[in-house]
Each structure stands twice: as structure tokens, then as C-alpha cells.
């Protein structure tokens, strides 16, 4: 096993043991070396002393060549166990006398041995000493020792050392294995705790701190960390639970919305089906009605001719009345048929290129009798640059016919002006046809209903002026079909200006299939036909109010556009063409009154009903400035819903681009004013809705 991967317990034990053992061995070994060196030194000293004593004792024997005496002296060395050989050499370096424990043969004295000294040779300690008598050199004593005592001592010491190291090592092991716990136990405990936390994800567990040392601090840090994690875990779990609850709520909401959506879709399909059935029924009925009418008109015409020929002139008038009534009925049926065709999406465009000026001449000629009937003069101004256009000529003719005959019908001894100008908008060529009269005019309220089908308000006026109440509605639809736009500018008693703008090159395909009922269609279909839910514009500087209103209105299936300021509101009103605007009064830069005034002064948006929603209790001022309704905050939602529904139901096809409406000159106005009847204007205006 790799040392590094050993447990901390073992590591600590091992380190302690190794350290202490190493120290012990080293010190013991040093001591041993020292002792052995000293002991050897002692041995040398001892041997040299003996050599000196023996040399002194043998000097006489040598002087007298007494070998036995010398040998006896040497033999005294028997007591010394470690001396192996002792030899006395004469001056001739030959052995004089010798002693040998092992009876070793004695050689001649080595020449390099002279004087006093010692040497180690072959594991033996050899000592040589000069034997002198009265200063005269007699020979040399040679002693050889096997250092038995030294090696014995070294062996004994080594044995003792080994035992000692072993015992102390075991002791160190024992002590360190006890002491290491001081360090390892807290660490192992910390490890256990950590393992428990990560295994059980239980952040409530805490490690127990035993000492105030680094490990203690480590445990403290660990506990703090755990506490933090626990806290976060709790917070996270809380947030998670909340998220789950919200998600469930959201899911329920989505489900609910889906259900509502499906129901709405079903209702929409049902409504569309019903509307289609209605259109088909209308088309069939109109056809069925026309066949007998055909016969009535035809026969009465024939009878008239015959009667005239036979001279019964008193019956001719009656027969003419039958014809007139029949023709009126027929035109009504034709209009209904046209409208139902448009609504059923069956009204196609027959596009051809034709010259505009002759068409205008033709229309003016056709309507000259109608103008003359009320003493009106028709003035025509066709710009010289107006040439050919590509459109459905029948529909253009009918549009102009309707506008002109309306102008003739509602103007008495006045002037009807027809202006045709080319215009260039968004890189496209357009033609602007404007028909203005000096007639009875239309009130703002009536303006809204102007392009609305079946909006004939007063039967008596219909009788007086004639018409079916569908003329302008059809005109509007025809303009839409050709992706043009129509607008009206008028004031009661001051005449009216109808402006139609058509692309100089109409593109085929109707801009949109008119919706069932057709009531909510916008008149404007430029530049792109809008197909959307009814939009409500909420102008309020308070974000909460905007949010609440948006949610509430969205529930009622409206598209909601909000504006945080008056300026933005004014801009959006033009842009999104809302069916209703709700307007706050107290706003920072541009207050609600100013916004309302500006809205009502802008022909683009003047007819959009404005519901004031405010804390300011000044209903009179609001209504004066042209607001449709006045609600005090906090808003009664049911009332708001009712009001919006009411406006939606009564929604006019909104007039188009106010910018195209020409201004009536002051001159014209005065002229017209003088010709207007002083009373009954408003009522008449009201009924203009139905005029054709």
C-alpha cells in the first residue's frame, strides 16, 4: 500500500515511531563507536605498557644471552589471554626468545619495525618496543594481540543496542498509537460527520469540537458552513415548494384558459356558421324577391306604354308610381344582395385599366338631373396629371355615384365639388377622389354610424330623402375591397367632405374576408388590412392600474395596448385603432384633459369612444370635452365591461386617414351657413346615416 494513502492514524503512529527509532539508533550507534574507539585506545596503551615492562625485565637476560631467563619472562604472558605471540629479537633481528599461545612459527623481525610503536595487521594489534640497557640497544620486543576483549565488547554492545532499540521502538509504537488519537480522532470524527451529511443529505448534523486547536477551528468552520448550507437548503426548499404551488396554479390557469379558448373558438365557429347561413339566406331571398319584382316592374312599364298609346293618361301616373316603388324595392334588394355577397366573401374584383377623367365626366353627367332637382351646381376639378387607373370600374363608378348622389340629395341650392388628385404615399401611387358639399352636414355622433349597415335611424327622413341606408356601407366595403380608404369630415350645417383614396393600381384579392356581421370591421385597411381582436387602449401613468386593466380586459377577450403617458397614448391611438380608450386624468407631463382634447381634435381618432377612468370627480368637464363615459376609481369592473360592450356593439367603421380630409375653406363655410336651415339640422344629420 502506498504510504501516502495510509490512514492518518497509521501515518501518525508510523511517523512518531520512525522518528523516535531513528533518533535512538543514531545516538546509540554514536555512543557505541565512541566507546569502542576509547576501548581500543586503552588496549593499545595497556599493551605498550606491558611491552615496556617486559622489555625492561628481559634486558639483563639479553645482555647475558640467557635464553631460558628471557623465555621465562615471556611465559609470564600466559596470564594475558589476548596476547597471541611475544618475541624478543636480537640486534641481528633474529628471534632470541619467543612465546606463542598457538605455537605459531616465529619469523625474522620485519625490517620496518624499529623503535617504539604499534600497528594493526590482519586483525591483530602488534606492538614493538626497543630493549635497551644503559642506553645501549640490545634488541626489539614484539607483542601480537588478537584484541579478543575488544571484539567481545563490541559484540555485547551491539546485542544490547539491538534489544534496546527494539524495546524502545515497541514503546514508541504503543505511546504514539495512544497519542495520535489526540489529532486523528477529531479528524476522523469530522470525516464521519461529512460522510453522514453527504450520504443522508442531513444538514442538521454537527461535528463535535474537542479542542481549541487548528482542528477545532476546522470543525467550527465546517459547522458554520453546514449551518449556512442548512439555511440555504431550507430557503431553497421553501422557494421550491412555492414554485411548485405556483406552477400548479399556472397549470390550472393554462388549463382554464385553454378551455375558455376552446369554448370561444367553438362560439366563434358557431357565429361564423350562423353568419354564413345568414348571408346565404339573404342572397337566396334577394334572388327570390327579385324575380317577382322583375315581373312587377316589367309589366308596369309595358302597361304604361300601352296605356299611353291608348290615351288613358290618368292611369299613367299610377303606373309610374308602381314602377318607382318597385325600383326602390329592387335597389334595396340589390344592396342587401351586394352586402351579403361581400360578407360571404363572394364579391370579387374585376380589374381593368381605364381612364379616370371620362369616368368622372360620365358620373357628373349621370347625376346632373339629381343635382338640378335641388338647385345644386356640380363643380369638377380633375388634376391634369390624373390619367388611367387599374381597378374595378363598376365599383369605382358605384362609389362615386353613391357619394355624388348623397351630396345632391342632402344639399339644397348649394355647390357640390368633385376633386381628383394623384397622391404618392409609401412609394405607391394613389388617387384621391373627394366629394364635398355645402349641405346639412353630419354630427360627430352620426359620423360614427355613417359606414354602418342598416343604420337608418328615422323612417321619416328616409321617406323624405329616399335611399336604403346601405349606400355608404357598400361604398365603404367596395373601397376596402380595393384596399383603399374612405374618410369623412363634417359638421352639422357646414356640409360634408367625403374622401376616397384608392391605389392607382389595385391588386386583386379582397384585403380580408369581412367578418360575420361586419359590424366591427375597420374602415381603414391601409397599409395592411388588420385582422385582430378588438383593441382597447389604456392610458394611465400608474403601472398597477395598467396591469390590472390589461388583465381584466384580456379576460374579456380584448387586445389591450397600454400607454404610460399622454403623448404615448395619443401616438398609440392613431396606431392601433382601438375601439375604446380608457383615460386617466392625473398624469405627470400631459394630463388627461389635454389628451382628451387632442384626441377629439384629431380626425383620425376623434370618433373612438373615450372612457375617463380617474379619481378626479369632474364628470361634467369630461363629458364637455367629449368623453363618452366617466368612471371614478376604483373602477366598477362590471360597469366598465358593460360600457365597452356597448361601444363595441355600436362601433362605427372608423373613418380613415384624417390627413386626407380636405379642409373646408372659410369662404365655403360662410356661403354654406347662409344656406342652411336654422333648425332641424341635427335631426337631419342624424338621418344622414341612412343616406345613399
Amino acid at each position: 500500500m502506498n504510504l501516502q494513502n495510509l490512514s492518518i492514524k497509521r501515518k501518525l503512529t508510523l511517523i512518531t515511531m520512525l522518528t523516535s527509532s531513528a533518533a535512538l539508533v543514531l545516538s546509540s550507534f554514536s555512543f557505541l563507536i565512541y566507546d569502542l574507539i576509547s576501548f581500543r585506545h586503552l588496549l593499545i596503551q595497556d599493551l605498550m605498557t606491558q611491552a615496556e615492562i617486559i622489555g625492561y625485565n628481559s634486558a639483563g637476560a639479553m645482555e647475558f644471552k640467557d635464553v631460558p631467563a628471557a623465555t621465562a619472562t615471556l611465559s609470564a604472558l600466559t596470564a594475558k589471554e589476548d596476547i597471541v605471540t611475544a618475541t624478543l629479537y636480537g640486534r641481528d633481528t633474529r628471534a632470541f626468545a619467543s612465546y606463542s599461545r598457538l605455537n605459531k612459527p616465529i619469523g625474522a623481525l620485519s625490517p620496518q619495525l624499529h623503535g617504539n610503536g604499534y600497528r594493526f595487521d590482519g586483525g591483530y594489534l602488534e606492538v614493538f618496543h626497543d630493549v635497551t640497557l644503559n642506553g645501549e640497544h640490545l634488541g626489539t620486543l614484539f607483542l601480537q594481540s588478537d584484541m579478543r576483549q575488544w571484539s567481545l565488547r563490541a559484540k555485547r554492545y551491539a546485542g544490547i543496542l539491538c534489544i534496546f532499540v527494539l524495546i524502545s521502538g515497541l514503546l514508541a509504537l504503543f505511546v504514539s498509537s495512544k497519542l495520535q488519537r489526540v489529532i486523528s480522532r477529531p479528524i476522523l470524527h469530522l470525516e464521519d460527520t461529512m460522510r453522514m451529511v453527504s450520504a443522508n443529505k442531513n444538514y442538521e448534523v454537527r461535528a463535535v469540537k474537542s479542542y481549541g486547536d487548528e482542528i477545532g477551528r476546522l470543525i467550527d468552520g465546517f459547522n458554520t458552513m453546514l449551518a449556512e448550507i442548512q439555511q440555504r437548503d431550507t430557503a431553497l426548499r421553501g422557494a421550491n415548494d412555492e414554485l411548485k404551488t405556483r406552477t400548479r396554479e399556472l397549470e390550472r390557469e393554462i388549463l382554464h384558459r385553454k378551455q375558455t379558448q376552446e369554448e370561444l373558438l367553438k362560439a366563434k365557429h358557431a357565429a361564423e356558421e350562423a353568419s354564413k347561413a345568414k348571408s346565404t339566406f339573404l342572397a337566396n331571398m334577394s334572388h327570390e324577391l327579385r324575380t317577382p319584382l322583375n315581373a312587377i316592374i316589367g309589366y308596369s312599364e309595358m302597361l304604361e306604354e300601352e296605356t299611353q298609346e291608348s290615351g288613358k293618361s290618368e292611369n299613367v301616373q299610377d303606373l309610374r308610381k308602381i314602377q318607382t316603388a318597385g325600383k326602390h324595392l329592387l335597389s334595396l334588394i340589390n344592396d342587401v344582395l351586394d352586402l351579403s355577397k361581400i360578407e360571404a366573401g363572394k364579391m370579387g374584383l374585376h380589374l381593368e385599366t381605364f381612364e379616370v377623367p371620362p369616368l368622372i365626366d360620365e358620373m357628373v353627367t349621370t347625376l346632373q338631373p339629381a343635382a338640378a332637382k335641388n338647385g345644386n351646381v356640380i363643380k369638377v376639378h380633375v388634376s391634369k396629371s390624373v390619367g388611367a387607373m387599374r381597378a374595378d370600374v363598376t365599383k369605382v363608378r358605384q362609389i362615386l355615384f353613391n357619394l355624388l348622389s348623397n351630396a345632391c340629395k342632402f344639399t339644397d341650392h348649394g355647390t357640390i365639388s368633385v376633386d381628383v388628385d394623384p397622391r404618392s404615399m409609401a412609394g405607391q401611387d394613389w388617387l384621391r377622389f373627394s366629394v364635398s358639399d355645402t349641405g346639412i352636414g353630419i354630427s360627430p355622433k352620426q359620423k360614427g354610424k355613417l359606414f354602418h349597415e342598416f343604420a337608418q335611424a328615422d323612417a321619416s327622413i328616409a321617406r323624405k330623402y329616399g335611399g336604403t341606408g346601405l349606400g355608404l356601407a357598400i361604398t365603404h366595403r367596395f373601397v376596402q375591397l380595393m384596399r383603399g380608404r374612405i374618410a369623412v369630415e363634417s359638421e352639422p350645417g357646414k356640409g360634408a367632405i367625403f374622401t376616397v383614396e384608392l391605389p392607382a393600381h389595385v391588386v386583386g384579392e379582397a384585403p380580408e374576408t369581412p367578418r360575420p356581421g361586419g359590424v366591427n370591421d375597420t374602415a381603414t385597411s391601409f397599409p395592411e388590412p388588420k385582422k385582430h381582436q378588438d383593441t382597447i387602449l389604456v392610458i394611465d401613468d400608474d403601472a398597477t392600474v395598467r396591469d390590472l386593466m390589461s388583465r381584466f380586459l384580456a379576460k374579456l377577450n380584448f387586445r389591450v395596448v397600454t400607454a404610460a403617458s399622454g403623448e404615448e397614448g395619443l401616438r398609440l391611438a392613431r396606431q392601433v385603432d382601438p375601439i375604446v380608450i380608457t383615460l386617466d386624468v392625473v398624469m405627470p407631463d400631459c394630463d388627461g384633459w389635454t389628451v382628451l382634447r387632442k384626441l377629439k381634435a384629431d380626425p383620425f381618432v376623434a370618433e373612438i369612444p373615450v372612457i375617463m377612468v380617474t379619481i378626479v370627480d369632474n364628470e361634467a368637464m369630461g363629458l364637455d370635452l367629449g368623453a363618452s363615459n366617466y368612471l371614478i376609481k376604483p373602477v366598477d369592473r362590471d360597469r366598465l365591461a358593460v360600457l365597452i360592450e356597448k361601444h363595441r356593439g355600436a362601433r362605427p367603421s372608423s373613418p380613415t386617414d384624417g390627413g386626407t380630409v380636405s379642409q373646408i375653406s372659410k369662404n365655403q363655410k360662410t356661403q354654406r351657413d347662409s344656406k342652411l336651415r336654422s333648425s332641424g339640422e341635427v335631426n337631419h344629420a342624424k338621418d344622414l346615416v341612412g343616406r345613399r
Binding site: 334572388h287 324575380t291 317577382p292 315581373a295 309595358m302 329592387l330 370579387g348
Partner: protein
């Protein structure tokens, strides 16, 4: 006296229109459906045909197509009469080979003008 064949299924319209045409000095023969109209056109070879479009048995388009593919009747001018003033009808009328086209309700003077024009044109050719 120019002879006009009027093919029209509605009895009142047939009666009224034929009488008015007679008063204008035309000789009028009538047929109540497409098949009889076709037979009469072939047999009588009229100077002009007024053809209602929604006819029983065989509709006006089919009769017109048959007559215009037949060498002996191809020269007879046909005015289509339709109740629907739809663009498609107008295109169909000319595609089928009609010489002119008018919508119901009939405006007698306008129709008379168209008849006159076609008869004059026929004479010239």
C-alpha cells in the same frame, strides 16, 4: 321581321319579355328549358337568342356551347341573361361563346339597344 328566340324558365318573365319584344316589332318564339331551347334554335334558326342561364334540364352555358359548336347555328348571336352580377358569370358568358351579356332585372331599353346592335352587326357581316 327579325325572329328572336327567348329561352327562359320563369313563365311571367317569359310572357312579359316576349310581349314587350313583340311590341317592338320582333317575332318571338319561346322555350321554357335548355333542351327545348336548343331544339328550337336548330329548327327555327332565329336571328337572335336571349338565353337565361339558370335553366332546368340543360343550363344556358351548355346550350350556348352546343349552339356555338354547331356550324348551322354558330352565326346566331346570343345574349346571356343572368341574375347574378358576378364577375365569374360575366367571364363564363364570354367563355361559353355568348355575344353579349345582361343582368336581371332586365332594363328593357338597355336590352333593346343590345339586341339592335347585334342585329345590325349581323346584317353588316
Amino acid at each position: 321581321m327579325p325572329k328572336i328566340l327567348l329561352v327562359e324558365d320563369n313563365e311571367m318573365n317569359r310572357d312579359m319579355l316576349s310581349r314587350r319584344l313583340q311590341r317592338k316589332g320582333y317575332s318571338v318564339i319561346t322555350a321554357p328549358d335548355g333542351e327545348q331551347g336548343h331544339l328550337l334554335a336548330c329548327a327555327e334558326c332565329p336571328d337572335l337568342i336571349l338565353m337565361d342561364i339558370s335553366l332546368p334540364v340543360m343550363n344556358g352555358w351548355e346550350v350556348t356551347r352546343l349552339l356555338k359548336t354547331n356550324d348551322s347555328t354558330r352565326h346566331i348571336p346570343i345574349i346571356a341573361l343572368t341574375a347574378h352580377a358576378l364577375v365569374t358569370d360575366r367571364q363564363k358568358a364570354f367563355e361559353a361563346g355568348c355575344d353579349d351579356y345582361d343582368t336581371k332585372p332586365i332594363e328593357f331599353n338597355r336590352l333593346n339597344e343590345k339586341i339592335d346592335n347585334l342585329l345590325v352587326a349581323k346584317k353588316v357581316s
